[in-house]
Structure formats: C-alpha cells, structure tokens
Amino acid sequence: MVDLVYFQLLSAALFVIGMYGVLARRSAVLIVMSIELMLNAVNINLIAAASHLGYRSVGEAFTNFDGQIIAIFVITVAAAELGLALAIILRIYRNRGSVNVDEVDLMKW
C-alpha cells in the first residue's frame, strides 16, 4: 500500500507548482488557475490524512474523518472564490482593456 507520506509529498509538489504560478504569471486568469492548483493540493493532504489516520486513532469504528468534511468546505469556498475572481477579472478587463495584473497599479504607492 502507498504510505501517507507519499500523498503528502505529492500534495507539497502540487502546492509548490501552484505557488510558482501565482508568483510568476502575469495574466489574471492564469493566476486564478494556479490558486485552484494550490487548493487542490491542500485537499489531497486533508483527504489523505483523514483516510489514513482517522481509523487508527479510535481503533475500530471510523469516527474521525473531519478531513473529508473540511475538504468539502474547501471545494465550496473555492467555487465561490472562482466566481467572484472571474467577475472581478471581467470588470477589470472592461475598465482597463487588459487582464495583465502588472498594469493594475492604481493603488501602487
């Protein structure tokens, strides 16, 4: 069987890929996609920990799987965040004619 630590390493790698995308990309839509990658990495971590450790901690009955429920909430919030982010991107595009985040510097000091 695959141990828990390999799922955690996979999730760390996916999170880091998303983090690189957020830091290096300049198109707002691509930044949103990278944020989705990071949220998925967190979900892998939560679900792997829930299904590997929830059983062991109580012995026989599977009572502690809060990780799966938190993952459901993460998916919900990700959907809400994506809808809002895309609405804001559309508004920025309409106002400024570009989705390049380096050109959105109105509040830059």
Binding site: I17, M19, A24, S51, F65, Q68, A80, Y93
Partner: protein, 162 residues
C-alpha cells in the same frame, strides 16, 4: 497495484500542474488544469474517498473548467500570448523550490508509517455533515449565495454607466 495507480495519477497531476504554469496558450493551460483536477479525483479514489472523487469531477471537472473557459472567451484572447511571465520568475522558482524543500523535509521526518487508507461509510459522512457540521454547512451555503450575488453585481453592465 496501488503503487502503479498512484504513480500514474501523480504523474498526471504534476504534469497537468506544470502545464498550467508553463504553457503560453491560455486555453491549453485550462485544459492542462482539467487534466490535473481529474487526476486528483483519481487520487481520491485510491484513498477510498469516493464521494469526494465524484464531487471533484462534478465541480472541478464540470463547472470550474467551463467557467474558466468562459472567462477566457469573454476577455480578449488575442492579448494573452503577449502577456509573458514576470521578470522575477527565477526568484519565484527559487522561492518555490525552497518551500518544497521545507514541506517535503517536514513531511518526511514526521512520516506516519504502516497506515492503511480506510473508507468511511457515506451515511456516516452525511450524519457528521448534518449534525456536527450543520452550522458551517449552512454558512457555506450563505457564502455561496453572497458570492454569486456579488459576482453578478460586479460583472453586470449597469445602465447608468457604472
């Protein structure tokens, strides 16, 4: 057997992720994201979290990818190839690799050994969601409602010209 599945799905997940951050064509990036998200659903399946796998396919594979493609379509596609990466991308790569080293090191040194994935019954999951987590559940639905109303108001063309 599960090792073969895990390695194949991990390669698909990470390859899709690298496709998202590396490709110049934004539509290809969206399709790479779809590949990665579906592979993550497979990862949930080998963890025996089949409800989460179905939710992942429905929400990420269906809704989120379609919404992203609509956003790409509604903004100007001709501009995207000109938006290159940041000039600081080497710095971003260094920061990412450093974060990976810290995360992987801490996961590796604190590794839990000899654990088996187990499957909670779907009824237990539902019971927990609607009893212990009932209030967060209701708040989540409120968050979705507020976010959707806000998205409509932000994105809508107003008659008075904003």
């Amino acid at each position: 057997m599960s090792w073969i599945l895990f390695i194949a799905l991990a390669v698909l997940t990470l390859g899709g992720g690298l496709g998202v951050v590396a490709t110049r064509n934004v539509v290809h990036a969206a399709l790479a994201l779809l590949l990665s998200l579906l592979a993550v659903a497979g990862i949930y399946l080998i963890l025996f979290a089949e409800f989460l796998a179905i939710v992942q396919v429905l929400i990420y594979g269906g809704a989120i990818t379609i919404v992203l493609l609509f956003a790409i379509m509604l903004t100007r596609t001709a501009e995207y190839p000109r938006i290159t990466d940041n000039r600081q991308w080497p710095l971003a790569a260094v920061a990412s690799v450093a974060t990976l080293a810290v995360l992987a090191g801490s996961f590796w040194t604190k590794a839990a050994v000899d654990t088996q994935p187990h499957n909670p019954a779907l009824t237990d999951l539902a019971n927990s969601l609607f009893t212990r987590w009932a209030i967060p559940f209701e708040i989540a639905s409120l968050v979705l409602l507020v976010a959707l109303i806000g998205a409509i108001i932000i994105a809508r063309e107003s008659e008075e010209g904003t």
